[in-house]
Amino acid sequence: MRIVDHPILGKLKERKKVFIEVDGRKIEAYEGEPIAAALLAAGVRVFRYTSKGKEPRGLFCAIGRCTDCVMIVDGIPNVRTCVTSVRDGMKIETQKGLGKWRK
């Protein structure tokens, strides 16, 4: 889902396309947009699973406060995807609990 014509913000500007890898799947994204935006556009709704109840979580506040959208980005767990911009070739993984550090 991507809003291409917003009633207030207007039309979506043309931007450079980049590719990110989510759990091994290649996803198209626009340069400069938050990881979470690219994920939503690609239909990804579950970003992580909670450590105690193993329940799925995704985008909630979308402004960097609630930490519900954290994922493992380039091997670093707990990265807030709603306030972190995509970069070409970024590797993103669904975070289970507190995640794992890259060895």
């Binding site: 670093i76 767990p77 707990n78 609990g97 507190l98 995640g99 794992k100 550090w101 060895k103």
Partner: protein, 408 residues
């Protein structure tokens, strides 16, 4: 502020002053033996050092090179570890004891040599749970720790626990055995009769009579028993958000950037704690300050990223300062105060977790069995400091104090 007037009893058999882990531990053992005991705490349970430390269970802290002192200390701390294991079963409260070992890490060759020598001395003195690890080995165990490790002293059976939960667990168990615990109850004075016998305490204009009074207020002990000098030492700690396990949660003691000793550990829930402080408080009273300045937070935070470069982006969610109590020989001060019958002190713990269970047991035995204890209290005898003036260094921090204690 609303001051609640407590319904204190008129008398009891033992009054414990201080609701920290030591006071609660003594109360638990006494109450278990059906002794009529009350605890008076001026703030809240575990609001002093008991709730402000890293929870490290290090049975031989510091760099002790005196074989007889090592052997003597280990008798108590090893027994303490055994009792902690038992408390895991006994208390209806998970205090997250994790026996994951402890490290003293050297980041230069000179220190590695010192540690290697230390391990040899300590092994000879009877500590078979200690070994020296080569730098490469440590780097393999701690891939996230900063590179350039020259070696480490590794102590197998040490670990960490959640000090808040331990204190609350002990308090709860004491209450289950009918001990009474009063918080926000500040004792004004310990009352002593003309015959040199303790009468009780005066509190909020009332008198509670007691056969025994135990001062378990650690760094604050000199307020009530000025005969014994205990030095406050302020330390600052920061706590990160919960993060994935960093391979080994073990407590690490290390000296970085020259002279400051930092300790770090990861709790069961995933937070990393780093403590230590470079700045030296100018006056003794400054060591009781429990607020933390921005500079101190910045310093402690920078230590995390220096020790664990890959954690440099991790968020700090809490920070605090706490006050430990030091005696002039680094050993706790536990036992009767000379010349006053019925007055005991259990203070001067610079390493509470390694003593809490055994000291609680020994103090209760002292009271229950007319001064007889299963392990002698002699090494901790308060008489060694009774009315002695000590020329403490000033200003001081942990490192200055450690140097001072070594020279004595």
């Amino acid at each position: 502020m609303v001051i609640k007037i407590m319904n204190f009893p008129l008398s009891c058999e033992a009054v414990i002053i201080g609701g920290g882990m030591m006071g609660c531990s003594i109360a638990y053992r006494l109450a278990q033996a059906d002794y009529d005991v009350i605890v008076l705490e001026w703030r809240n349970i575990a609001s002093g050092a008991s709730g402000r430390n890293g929870g490290q269970v290090i049975q031989l802290d510091g760099r002790d090179k005196d074989p007889s002192s090592i052997a003597r200390r280990l008798i108590y701390t090893k027994e303490n570890t055994k009792l902690l294991d038992e408390l895991v079963e006994e208390l209806d409260y998970d205090f997250e004891l994790n026996r994951c070992g402890s490290f003293d890490i050297a980041f230069n060759e000179k220190e590695a040599e010192e540690l290697n020598e230390l391990v040899e001395i300590q092994r000879k003195a009877g500590d078979k749970e200690i070994e020296f690890l080569e730098g490469k080995e440590v780097e393999k165990m701690f891939p996230m720790l900063k590179k350039g490790i020259y070696g480490a002293r590794y102590r197998l059976t040490d670990g960490n626990l959640e000090p808040f939960k331990l204190t609350y667990g002990l308090a709860k168990a004491a209450k289950n055995h009918k001990a009474k615990i009063y918080t926000h109850s500040n004792v004004d004075k310990i009352l002593i009769g003309d015959n040199g016998e303790v009468i009780g305490v005066s509190i909020q204009g009332k008198i509670i009579k007691a056969k025994w009074v135990i001062n378990a207020t650690n760094a604050w002990a000199p307020i009530l028993t000025p005969e014994i000098d205990i030095l406050p030492l302020r330390q600052v700690a920061v706590l990160t958000e919960r993060i994935a396990p960093i391979e080994k949660p073990s407590p690490i003691e290390t000296v970085i950037e020259g002279d400051v000793i930092y300790t770090t550990t990861q709790t069961k829930s995933g937070n990393v704690i780093v403590g230590g402080l470079r700045t030296q408080a100018r006056f003794r009273n400054d060591h009781y300050k429990e607020d933390v300045s921005l500079e101190e937070i910045q310093e402690s935070t920078s230590i995390i990223s220096k020790l664990f470069p890959s954690l440099s982006h991790v968020n700090i969610i809490r920070t605090w300062a706490g006050t430990m109590g030091f005696t002039a020989d680094g050993l706790p001060c536990v036992g009767p105060i000379p010349d006053i019958k019925g007055l005991l002190i259990a203070a001067g713990f610079s390493n509470g977790m390694a003593n809490v269970a055994i000291i609680g047991k020994l103090v209760s035995e002292y009271i229950l069995h007319n001064g007889k204890t299963s392990l002698p209290l002699d090494p901790f005898d308060p008489a060694r400091f009774y009315k002695k003036k000590i020329n403490w260094p000033e200003p001081y921090n942990y490192t200055v104090l450690a140097e001072f204690l070594k020279k004595l």
